[in-house]
C-alpha cells in the first residue's frame, strides 16, 4: 500500500489499526480501526474506560502484543529521524516482525515505555544500575574520535564499556531526582519505594534518548503526592530531552495538565481526537461529554450526585451493531445509530469526532425524514 508522506511535525501516525486476539471463545476485536497522530515533542493523552484498548494500542506500537494477539490491518507510520542527518525515513511499524533487529532497535532505543506496575517492573535480582546499563549498552553507540586507539577498539565492539554505562546510569538517576544516585545505582528494586522504582523506570526509558515515551498509566499504582511528582518529572524531562509522550490514563484531571492533544477511546476505537482545549471546552462526541460530566467539580452543589454514564461497557463478544456507543448514548437516534458506523470527521474546534450527529449526509437524511 502506498503511504502518503507525513507532515514533518508528525512523529507517529496510526491509521485504521486493527488488533485481534484469539481466545477460547473466539476472536476478540480489541482494536477496530484506531486513528491518531502523535506530534514531535508533544504529549498525546489517551483516555478511555478499562477495556477500551488503550494499553493494547501502546503494545501494538511497541510490537509487544501477547502471543495470541495480532495486528490484522492498518498502518503505524513512524517518522524516523537520525540524530546525525536531516533525512528522515518512514517506517510502518505494523509491517515489522516483533523480533526483528529494526524493531528491537526502536524498542527501548527510540520508543520507550513505562508501565503501570512500578513495583514489579524491575527484575528483583538485578540492581537499578544493571537495568539502566543494559539499555545503554544495547542502544547507545560509542562515539569515535579519529586516531583514538581506545575509541576504535570500543567502536569495534560497538558497545559502550560497562564503566561508562554505569556513569551514565548514575547521571540518569540524578536527572530523575533520586537522591544519592552513586549509592542508589547498586540498590536492588526491593530497597526502593514505589515512586523511586517508577523514577528508575523513567531513567531506563530516557537513558537512550527516545523520540517517543509511552507511559501506560504510570501513576495508577502510586499515592497521590507521588503521582504529582512523577507527572511533574515527566514534563520537566520532556522539556530537557524533547521527546513526545503518549500518556495513557483514565484520570481526566491529570490529562488536562499533561497533554497538548487528547484521543478518547471507546471499545477499540478513537471516538474523538483534538487539542486539549477543544476536547475540554467544546467536546463533540456524546461519550466525551459524558466522561467530562462525570468529573467531580469544586463548587458542585452539595449533596448532588455525580453523573455517571448509563449502562456498562459491553462484553467483547456482544458489541452493539452500528455505533458502539449507541446503547449508552443520551443522544441516540434510533434506526440510525444502531445501523450505521460513524467515521472520524472534523467537528467543533478543529477536532475530529466519530459521531453520526456530525455526519452531514446522515443529518440531511434525518431532516428530510422529519419534513416528510
Amino acid at each position: 500500500m502506498a503511504t502518503a508522506a507525513l507532515d514533518s511535525e508528525v512523529l507517529l501516525d496510526i491509521r485504521d489499526l486493527q488488533v485481534h486476539f484469539d481466545v477460547r471463545r473466539g476472536t476478540v476485536r480489541a482494536l477496530e480501526g484506531v486513528n491518531f497522530t502523535i506530534r514531535k515533542s508533544k504529549t498525546l493523552g489517551v483516555i478511555g474506560e478499562s477495556g477500551s484498548g488503550k494499553s493494547v494500542t501502546a503494545r501494538a506500537i511497541m510490537q509487544l502484543l501477547a502471543k495470541n494477539g495480532s495486528i490484522v490491518s492498518g498502518e503505524m507510520l513512524y517518522n524516523r529521524q537520525r540524530d546525525d542527518s536531516s533525512d528522515s525515513e518512514l517506517i510502518d511499524i505494523a509491517q515489522q516482525p516483533a523480533d526483528s533487529q529494526l524493531m528491537r532497535d526502536l524498542r527501548g532505543g527510540e520508543i520507550a515505555m513505562i508501565f503501570q506496575e512500578p513495583m514489579s517492573s524491575l527484575t528483583p535480582v538485578y540492581t537499578a544500575g544493571l537495568h539502566i546499563g543494559e539499555s545503554i549498552q544495547l542502544h547507545l553507540k560509542p562515539r569515535q574520535t579519529v586516531g583514538d586507539q581506545m575509541a576504535k577498539a570500543i567502536a569495534r565492539q560497538n558497545r559502550i564499556p560497562r564503566e561508562e554505562a554505569r556513569q551514565i546510569a548514575v547521571e540518569m538517576l540524578d536527572k530523575v531526582g533520586i537522591p544519592r544516585p552513586e549509592e542508589r545505582v547498586v540498590s536492588y528494586p526491593h530497597e526502593l519505594s514505589g515512586g523511586q522504582r517508577q523514577r528508575v523506570m523513567i531513567a531506563i526509558a530516557l537513558s537512550c534518548g527516545p523520540k517517543l515515551l509511552i507511559a501506560d498509566e504510570p501513576t495508577t499504582a502510586l499515592d497521590v503526592t507521588t503521582q504529582a511528582q512523577i507527572n511533574d518529572l515527566m514534563l520537566d524531562l520532556q522539556e530537557e530531552f524533547g521527546m513526545a509522550i503518549m500518556y495513557i490514563t483514565h484520570d481526566l484531571g491529570v490529562i488536562a495538565e499533561m497533554a497538548e492533544d487528547i484521543a478518547v477511546m471507546y471499545l477499540g476505537r478513537i471516538v474523538e481526537q483534538g487539542t486539549t482545549d477543544a476536547i475540554f471546552y467544546n467536546p463533540q462526541h456524546p461519550y466525551t461529554r459524558a466522561l467530562l460530566r462525570s468529573i467531580p467539580r469544586i463548587g458542585q452543589t452539595e449533596g448532588s450526585r455525580l453523573e455517571v454514564i448509563e449502562g456498562m461497557v459491553p462484553d467483547p463478544f456482544s458489541i452493539p451493531t452500528g455505533c458502539p456507543f449507541n446503547n449508552r448514548c443520551p443522544d441516540v437516534m434510533p434506526g440510525i445509530c444502531d445501523v450505521r458506523m460513524p467515521e472520524l470527521l472534523t467537528a467543533g474546534d478543529g477536532q475530529r469526532a466519530a459521531c453520526l450527529l456530525h455526519d452531514p449526509d446522515t443529518m440531511q437524511e434525518v431532516t428530510r425524514a422529519r419534513v416528510h
Binding site: 511497541m62 509487544l64 523480533d99 528491537r104 532497535d105 526502536l106 524498542r107 527501548g108 532505543g109 520507550a112 515505555m113 508501565f115 503501570q116 506496575e117 514489579s120 517492573s121 524491575l122 527484575t123 528483583p124 535480582v125 538485578y126 537495568h131 543494559e134 539499555s135 544495547l138 542502544h139 536492588y188 526491593h190 523506570m201 531506563i204
Partner: protein
C-alpha cells in the same frame, strides 16, 4: 551472616540427637532383636550351641543392658567416631558405610547432574513454547516418567538388557574390577556402569523437575518485569534466560538442597536393590529388616546429616542468588 550459620549449625546438632534417639527407639520397637532372629535361625539348622553363642554375642554387643544407657553409650562413642559394630556383617559400621559412601555419592552427583542438565532446558522450552507440539510431547513423557516407579523401569530395563544384549548391567563394576584396587581403568569402568543407574534413578526426578520448571517459568513470564525487559529491546532469548529463567530457578535451589540431594542418596533403595548396586540404600533396608541396630542407626544419622547440610547449603545458595532474602 556468620552468626546465622552458627545458629543453624546449632539447631542441626539438636536435630541430629533427636532423630538418632527416635530412630534408635523405633528400630528397637518390634518384638525381639537381631539375636532372637539369629537364635531361631541357628536352632532351625539344628545348631546345639546356638544358645551359648547368642548369649556370648549379647554380652559382646551390649544388648543385655537397657535401651537408654545403650543409646547413651552408642551416642558418646559415635561422637568419638566409633559407630559400633554391624551384627549381621560382623564388621565395624564405619567400614561398611565407608566402603559404600563414595559410590553412593558418585551415583547421586551423576543423577543430579543428569536431572538438571536434561530437565532445565526441556522445562524452559516447554514454557516458552506453551501448547506447542513439542511441549505436548514433553508433557506426556514427563507425566509417564512421574507415574512409573523407578524400580519398575529398572526391572524392565534389566529384562531387556539381559535378554537381548550381553552388556554386564548389574553392579557398578565389571567382574574383573570388582575387587581390584583403584586405578584409572577401574574409574573408566565405573563411568561405563554409572550412567545406567544414574539414568534410571534420575527419570522420576527429571520428570518432576520439568513440570516444576515449566510451571515456575510460565508464572515468571507473565510478570511485568519480563514485559519491561522486552520493552527495553532485549532479544527474546536474553529476556528468557537472563531475566525470566534467572528468577524462575530460585525455588529449584531449595528443591535441590532439601529434596533432590538427600532423596537420591537415601532413596532409590529399590532401584539399587534391583540393579544390585553397592550403595548405602539397600544396605540400610537390610539393616532395618534384621534389626541391625548400630548400622541402621548410624545410616539414619548420616541421612539426617545430609538432609540438614543440604538444607543449609540451599538456604545459603538462595541468599546468595536472591538479594531479597539476604540476611543482615
Amino acid at each position: 551472616m556468620l552468626s546465622y550459620i552458627i545458629r543453624r549449625v546449632g539447631y542441626s546438632v539438636v536435630m541430629l540427637v533427636l532423630v538418632s534417639f527416635v530412630g534408635f527407639v523405633i528400630i528397637e520397637l518390634p518384638p525381639g532383636d537381631f539375636l532372637t532372629q539369629l537364635l531361631t535361625e541357628l536352632e532351625g539348622r539344628g545348631d546345639r550351641s546356638a544358645e551359648d553363642r547368642v548369649t556370648e554375642l549379647r554380652l559382646r554387643y551390649g544388648l543385655d543392658i537397657p535401651l537408654l544407657p545403650r543409646y547413651v553409650k552408642w551416642a558418646t562413642n559415635f561422637v568419638r567416631g566409633d559407630f559400633g559394630e554391624s551384627f549381621a556383617l560382623e564388621r565395624p559400621v564405619r567400614e561398611v558405610i565407608a566402603q559404600r559412601f563414595w559410590l553412593t555419592c558418585a551415583l547421586a552427583v551423576a543423577s543430579i547432574l543428569l536431572v538438571w542438565v536434561v530437565a532445565i532446558p526441556i522445562g524452559v522450552y516447554s514454557a516458552t513454547n506453551q501448547y506447542s507440539i513439542g511441549d505436548q510431547i514433553f508433557t506426556t513423557i514427563s507425566f509417564i516418567g512421574l507415574g512409573v516407579p523407578g524400580f519398575l523401569l529398572a526391572l524392565l530395563l534389566l529384562f531387556y538388557v539381559v535378554q537381548f544384549t550381553d552388556v554386564d548391567i548389574l553392579g557398578l563394576f565389571s567382574r574383573e574390577y570388582r575387587d581390584a584396587p583403584w586405578s584409572f581403568a577401574k574409574f573408566v569402568d565405573l563411568l561405563k556402569h554409572l550412567w545406567l543407574p544414574a539414568l534410571i534413578g534420575s527419570i522420576t526426578g527429571t520428570a518432576g523437575l520439568i513440570r516444576i520448571m515449566r510451571g515456575n517459568l510460565l508464572d515468571t513470564l507473565g510478570q511485568p518485569f519480563v514485559e519491561s525487559a522486552r520493552a527495553r529491546g532485549l532479544k527474546s532469548r536474553t529476556v528468557t534466560w537472563k531475566h525470566a529463567v534467572r528468577m524462575a530457578i530460585n525455588p529449584l535451589i531449595v528443591i535441590l538442597g532439601s529434596e533432590a540431594l538427600p532423596g537420591i542418596i537415601v532413596g532409590n533403595a529399590l532401584v539399587a536393590t534391583v540393579l544390585n548396586l553397592p550403595t548405602i540404600g539397600p544396605e540400610f533396608v537390610r539393616a532395618l529388616q534384621r534389626q541391625d541396630m548400630y548400622l541402621a542407626g548410624t545410616t539414619l544419622v548420616f541421612f539426617t546429616l545430609i538432609l540438614l547440610v543440604g538444607n543449609l547449603l540451599a538456604d545459603l545458595a538462595l541468599a546468595w542468588l536472591d538479594p531479597r532474602i539476604r540476611l543482615e
